[in-house]
């Protein structure tokens, strides 16, 4: 199945639901404007089913209708997992056998972001979704710097701990805070350390686009629903090489 369309209640009907606000008071013209927008988005016919003025100059709309766009699932770009998913045992075994020392991981939530639940879920013993965090892995040495860590402090700690990998979390996305902070972080590492000595840079957070790693200057991005095992497996893959 490579070409599909949205499905309302019959194959091929193309139906979608859309809502938005326009900064204009509610009248017939505003409704027309809402339909115009839906039209530009490819909805035809577009049924305006709800319009409600909010305050003086704004109107909220709900539109249902058919879009004519086709979705080609063959053309979808995704970051598929390109490494084997290992168990904790395997991770430890591979590191022990190949690296013959513990792998150093430094984690932090940088900038003004104080949402540590995500990075804690990856790093702390407790873990998430029934999987233990990286601290549980005997061959990983984890330093969790916590929240609101400044980039210079992070670089400093990474250097001090001889970090093989740096794991950064960013949850706040308003005004693209997560992108700005990630770029600042990767630039600082590039500046502070020569290419060969730079740790693997990983960022994560619920609103990242995993395709943006190159753009942000990091090695890998993890998004919504990441589990510690995936991260551990990736670390092994990227730093130690294949498990065989």
């Amino acid at each position: 199945m490579s070409i599909v369309r949205p499905y309302g209640d019959a194959t091929g009907d193309g139906m979608v639901q859309l809502s938005f606000t326009l900064p204009i008071p509610h009248d017939k013209r505003a409704e027309g404007a809402a339909v115009q927008l839906a039209g530009k988005m490819g909805m035809d016919p577009a049924m305006l089913v709800h319009a409600k003025q909010m305050g003086d100059g704004f109107t909220f709309f709900v539109v249902y209708g058919k879009v004519n766009h086709l979705v080609d699932t063959d053309k979808v770009q995704v970051v598929e997992r390109d490494f084997p998913l290992l168990s904790a045992k395997e991770v430890n075994a591979v590191i022990k056998r190949r690296l013959r020392r513990r792998l150093n991981v430094v984690g932090a939530c940088i900038g003004t972001d104080a949402h540590t639940v995500g990075i804690d879920a990856i790093l702390n013993l407790k873990g998430i979704a029934g999987e233990k965090g990286l601290e549980y892995y005997s061959e990983l040495s984890v330093t969790n710097m916590g929240a609101q860590v400044s980039v210079p402090d992070l670089v400093e700690t990474a250097r001090e701990k001889k970090a093989d990998a740096v794991l950064v979390s960013q949850v706040v996305t308003q005004r693209d805070a997560h992108l700005l902070n990630t770029r600042a972080m990767s630039a600082a590492f590039r500046e502070a350390l020569p290419a060969g000595k730079r740790p693997l840079l990983i960022v994560g957070g619920p609103r990242f686009d995993e395709l943006m790693a190159g753009d942000l200057g990091v090695d890998r991005i993890f998004s919504r629903g990441t589990t510690p095992r995936e991260v551990a497996s990736y670390l092994v893959h990227a730093l130690v090489g294949s498990s065989s």
Partner: protein, 515 residues
């Protein structure tokens, strides 16, 4: 659950007695008339199958032919089985085909012996049909024993309405997997006014799928598979409503449907079907449902889409009492009475939710043994689907708090489209959240003066209205717009020409088996 309102049992008994008095004349009317659809139902049970090249069922052709020759007043059984004997045709369907070709004439035999013979043959044929119904009922009992009933009350009732039985089936199965206990296949608009039941599998309905014997069979088979897969017997619902109510009831019995929408007044009020036609068809179809072990769902909820849910609350109660009386009279037991009511109070009204609780609890306590059918908000739903999902949540809560039996799942897109796949998923998630998180809240629900006062008031108004109906007759009350503000005089409406007074010698082998 019972007893939270402390209703005075004498007042309740009085309400029931009044309903019986108001209903009895209509029962008498129903017992003394027949209709084309009742007679066709008899023939279906007696074994007539299939349709002509134009899709007109042979039962229609046959009843029309009999009627042409001898009228309906004697019932079709005797003329038909007499003709069968006299023409030597073995099969009733073949007879129907011949009759349609003009090759058979019908008559009521003069000789007592011939009459007795025809009656006996008819009775034998009808009994075979009823036996099939009985087998289906036993089969249901077995399957329920094997797979089990839903774990929770209320049962979760979902509709599918694609218009195409082959789209309906996977959607129904998906809905059951997602948690539905009962699947209702909504009918195409317009079917209720067709004076025949379409044949075969259909893919061409508007906003619903035609009710046909084959569609019933296909869907029931699919849901049997799903019941097995899920270890939970999934019930199937359709509509024994409209001009062909008796026949559809018979088909439902033959194909093991489990519930049927079946109201004593819905067709009159909302389809402008003639009142007498409806009451006659109604009684017969309920007798069939009683035999088939089918739960009926009545349609009081509909009144609140045209009338105001607060002003007209007592008309719902009156109608429930009448539906109960008619149902009992036709042989249905309390567990088969899915009496309808709905969450249709204007949500902007102060205390709207508590008024809903008062109304729903009143129904619960008036009919403690009936599996009440609780209908979601529709009238005050708008294109604001976010608000819609919220209202549906409170509807679900009201259902749980007041111990409703069958929860018709509300859709956030009620005012927009017939439900999408995702609408059903969102709606079921809503039901699950409410039943799981607050389903036991009734333990903490002890109605205070406001709710109790309101329930009492509605009951009082219902009794006043019943008194007026007893004085004026139910038919006049219907003509005056008492229910759903729809005015429907007894001598108007569709399908009146399909009604006939029973003659002295009227004979109906099915009714004979059912009374």
């Amino acid at each position: 659950m019972a007893g939270k309102l402390d209703l005075d049992p004498r007042v309740v008994a009085r309400a029931r007695k009044l309903a019986a008095r108001a209903g009895q004349p209509v029962v008498d009317l129903a017992r003394s008339h027949t209709t084309v659809s009742v007679e066709r139902a008899v023939l279906r049970l007696a074994g007539v199958r299939g349709a002509d090249a134009d899709g007109i069922p042979w039962v229609n052709r046959l009843v029309d032919a009999v009627r042409e020759d001898v009228g309906l007043g004697h019932g079709v059984a005797v003329p038909v089985f007499h003709a069968l004997a006299s023409t030597g045709v073995e099969d009733v369907t073949v007879l129907a085909q011949k009759a349609a070709a003009g090759a058979v004439r019908f008559a009521v035999p003069d000789k007592k012996g011939e009459i007795t013979a025809a009656r006996r043959a008819a009775s034998r044929a009808a009994r075979a049909g009823l036996k099939q119904v009985d087998r289906r009922r036993a089969e249901r009992d077995r399957l329920i024993k094997r797979y089990g009933d839903p774990k929770q009350r209320p049962w979760i009732y979902l509709i599918v309405a694609t218009g195409d039985i082959y789209e309906d089936i996977p959607q129904a199965q998906a809905a059951a997997r997602a948690g539905a206990d009962v699947i209702a296949v909504i009918r195409s608009t317009g079917q209720s006014l067709l004076d025949y039941v379409p044949e075969g599998a259909t893919r061409e309905g508007f906003a619903g799928t035609y009710a046909t014997q084959e569609n019933f069979r296909l869907m029931r088979a699919a849901l049997d598979e799903t019941s097995k897969e899920l270890g939970r017997y999934i019930r199937l619902t359709n509509y024994a409503s409209g001009l062909c109510m008796p026949e559809i009831a018979a088909l439902a019995g033959l194909e093991r449907l489990d519930m049927m929408l079946n109201d004593s007044m819905y067709g009159i009020l909302f389809r402008d079907i003639n009142p007498i036609r409806t009451f006659v068809d109604q009684r017969f179809s309920r007798q069939v449902h009683a035999r088939a072990g089918i739960i009926i769902n009545t349609g009081e909820d509909n009144y609140l889409t045209t009338a105001d849910a607060v002003e007209a609350a007592h008309t719902v109660t009156v109608s429930q009492l009448l539906n109960e009386f008619f149902a009992h009279e036709a042989g249905l037991e309390n567990w088969q009475l899915g009496l309808g009511h709905a969450f249709e109070i204007n949500p902007d009204l102060p205390d709207s939710f508590r008024l809903e609780l008062a109304h729903a609890l009143l129904a619960r306590e008036l009919f403690p043994d009936a599996p009440l059918k609780w209908m979601p908000p529709t009238k005050h739903m708008t294109g604001d689907v976010f608000r819609g999902n919220l209202l549906d949540g409170f509807f679900n809560l009201a259902g749980a708090l007041t111990g409703q039996g069958i929860l018709l799942v509300g859709m956030m897109t009620e005012a927009v489209v017939t439900p999408w796949l995702s609408d059903r998923d969102i709606a079921l998630q809503n039901v699950r959240y409410v039943l799981n998180g607050a389903g036991n809240l009734h333990e903490d629900f002890t109605p205070g003066p406001f709710i109790r006062g309101r329930a009492e008031q509605v009951l009082t108004e219902a009794i006043d209205l019943l008194e007026r109906i007893v004085d004026d007759t139910l038919l006049d009350a219907i003509a005056d717009g008492t229910f759903g503000i729809m005015k429907r005089p007894a001598d108007r409406g569709k399908g009146l020409d399909g009604v006939a007074k029973q003659d002295e010698d009227y004979y109906n082998p099915v009714t004979e088996g059912l009374e």
